[in-house]
């Protein structure tokens, strides 16, 4: 089994991403959506969380949410892959289950 974990909260505001990174297994994927996309910024102080996850998990970010927040031109952490809503749907088919870290 491999799980797709969604995180929709800013890592600067809530501990959801940290909790997810600590409890997701190798081979899992983390998809950053809504305010979760702030975690993907290369220059942010919380970039370490995503970098740690990238060691053995995939990390995706929902591009429409990046664009809404004016972050389309910001550098993302290397290895983070952008997806649109089509890609979000595809990820839910590629992984065995979905878990939301609210």
């Amino acid at each position: 089994m491999a799980i797709l974990h969604t995180v929709n909260k800013s890592p600067y505001e809530k501990t959801s991403l940290e909790s997810c990174v600590q409890r997701s297994d190798a081979g899992a994927a983390i998809l950053l959506i809504e305010d979760g996309v702030y975690a993907a910024l290369a220059g942010g102080a919380k970039a370490e969380l995503v970098k740690a996850a990238l060691a053995d998990r995939k990390v995706f970010v929902l591009e429409p949410d990046l664009k809404a927040r004016g972050l389309a031109d910001q550098a993302l952490i290397e290895g983070v892959e952008s997806v649109d809503f089509d890609g979000f749907v595809d990820l839910t088919t590629q992984y065995d289950q979905v878990n939301a870290w609210l």
Binding site: S16, S19, S24
Partner: protein, 138 residues
């Protein structure tokens, strides 16, 4: 699939404290329905979710309903797997003694009373999440 149950493995992931928001309370209603529909139900308490299980909750002073007795009733509905993450408890300065003593009666063991709360490590949590068919987070 579990050995005892032909249903799906439903895990309820509880990460939030009680009373500040309603999620803990309303999630219990789903747990009971899933159990009634004979699914293989377990509950996971991590992060502030471990605060849901404290004993001695008394809501008189805040004027809200005390729903903590519902956890003690879970055993009657054959919900016997309440996983509590050890690290989450420790970070909050709590021990098992601070939580309700929750039990169930094992039909296959002459109705012996057994503990419902199973203390597990963060690494075990990782594995447990991967074994589920349905994850409901509240």
């Amino acid at each position: 699939m579990s050995e005892e149950n032909d249903g799906k493995k439903f895990m309820f992931v509880n990460r939030r404290a009680p009373y500040g928001t309603i999620y803990a309370q309303e999630s219990l209603e789903v747990v009971l329905i899933a159990a009634a529909l004979e699914q293989d139900v377990s509950l996971l308490f991590i992060d502030d979710g471990v605060f849901q299980l404290t004993k001695g909750q008394n809501t008189e002073g805040v004027g809200m309903k005390n729903f903590s007795p519902a956890y003690a009733a879970l055993g009657d509905y054959d919900v016997s797997k309440l996983y509590v993450e050890k690290e989450s408890l420790e970070e909050r300065g709590l021990t098992l003694d601070d939580l309700q003593h929750l039990t169930w009666e094992d039909e296959d063991d002459d109705w012996a009373e057994k503990d419902s709360i199973r203390l597990i490590s963060r690494d075990e949590v990782k594995k447990l999440i991967e074994e589920q068919d349905v994850l409901l987070s509240f």
